[in-house]
Subunit: 250 residues, 2 copies
DNA sequence: CGATCCGTTGAGGTGCGTCAACGGGAGTGG
DNA sequence: CCACTCCCGTTGACGCACCTCAACGGATCG
């Protein structure tokens, strides 16, 4: 699989440097997964006019918490994490984003999290002002983005339950199943799940430590609930049992 | 203050029983706080036509997780909690809602949490279908709801950091400050903070137990950061220190 | 072939949960 | 008006799930 190679860009990327290419929306492979999916020719042309594609290497920062929220993004390839830091360095990852996911809906004009690539990634970038203008003209786009906000909200609620009330085992099981389900919905293999992020990222996503993530995976492996050839590819063997664990029916 | 009296309705309320009165939007005291705030006369008339007001006693269930999401609500008085349960009874409260807050934006056609009053409350209820039709006709309303979704999303992100990475002390400090800030933004007294929910609700909101909530408040009281006459009224004495604690600068 | 990074494992500590008891306030009934 | 009960908040004693600190080994890369 090519999309997870590292392309040699510096790790310390910033917003203006990445190579910007033209907008070929019509032939966009990710289109059916993105906010562009429901758009008809006219709107697609309009959004193509304001879009710019960009590529980033792994560990590249797209924008930082507090930056002026001038752009929104479609992920067209790769994997991205959104996170916030406490002053002493504790980190909470709000979301992992993959092909088709949308980044940047913020309530005010500043981003309230940092966005960083996990693998090398490609994105489609929209100036916020122009996208908002387009929303005023396209009810289809408006509805799409509203629906997306509601989906994000639902996902956020799932995460509150996970972070506030689930045990380490339940968190890990939930995580694996979610990864699998999302990969499937993107049309990617959903059983040996591909896990592009490292243990520290998983830990900061689930409100755990790397050690606990590691130990829990080891335990699942010992119980034959999962198998793994390498660190980033995990087979869900007892998927129904994992589901029970994830929901706390243990 | 009248809005927190109990009006004698049965605790086990359901959706159809509560008294339904006419729609007097023009004179609605909560209007400037609700989704109706930006609406001009025409739209206000339209939304008034589809709205029904209702009253509930404390501990009344507005709807349950899994119910068909047929209605949306404006809170016009009182306090409401939204929560989800795990099969074994563990509970996560997603949000506390007060006058002006909006309930019911869900991604699909089922509610994914239960809504229950904390105190006696008044609400303004909208049939989902009709509100959606109205959104199609009123860009102002559409934008208002979209903005609201984005605000909710931001709040959800704050909660993820709180639930995933903050200590009990940081959680309690954050909670008190948030309560104070929100009361102020509704034009209510923000320093002796009025805390209408009990310790169990606070615990399930913050991912703690009642005992830990109690102990932490006792500790804050001992450190003279807060004072309290009764259980539901807390004065924030060292507000800057509380802010430091809340952000983890301890 | 050494250095670095990352995942894993072990040993030990601790913040918060669990379990239990108590006390005050509110409601109820006599 | 008082006794009784119930509910809720508080406090204490104790336990444990997860964190912290530390060591190690395999993979990757210069």
């Amino acid at each position: 699989m090519a999309p997870f190679d590292d392309d040699g860009n510096s790790g310390a990327a910033d917003l203006d440097k990445p190579p910007v290419i033209g907008p070929p929306c019509i032939s966009c492979a990710a289109r059916s997964l993105t906010i562009c999916a429901p758009l008809k020719e006219h709107d697609l042309g309009r959004i193509g006019d304001i879009a710019q594609t960009q590529s980033h290497s792994a560990q590249a920062v797209l924008f930082e918490e507090g930056d002026s929220a001038d752009h929104l993004f479609n992920v067209t390839g790769g994997a991205i994490k959104l996170f916030r830091l406490l002053p002493d360095g504790r980190r909470q990852i709000m979301a992992f984003l993959y092909t088709g996911d949308f980044i940047g809906m913020s309530a005010d004009d500043r981003y309230d999290y940092t966005a960083e690539t996990i693998t090398s990634s490609t994105l489609c970038r929209f100036p916020r002002r122009k996208l908002e203008d387009l929303m005023d003209e396209s009810p289809t786009l408006q509805k799409r983005l509203f629906a997306l906000a509601k989906t994000d909200l639902q996902a956020a609620q799932d995460r509150m339950v996970l972070l506030g009330r689930k045990t380490a085992q339940e968190k890990i099981a939930s995580f694996l199943l979610d990864m699998s389900e999302r990969a499937g919905s993107r049309g990617q293999p959903d059983n040996p799940v591909f896990v592009p992020m490292n243990r520290a990222d998983i830990a900061d996503f689930l409100g755990l430590t790397t050690e606990t993530v590691s130990r829990t995976l080891t335990r699942f492996r010992g119980e034959r609930l999962i198998e793994s050839r390498d660190h980033s590819r995990i087979a869900l063997v007892e998927i129904d049992r994992l589901r029970e664990i994830a929901e706390g029916d243990s």
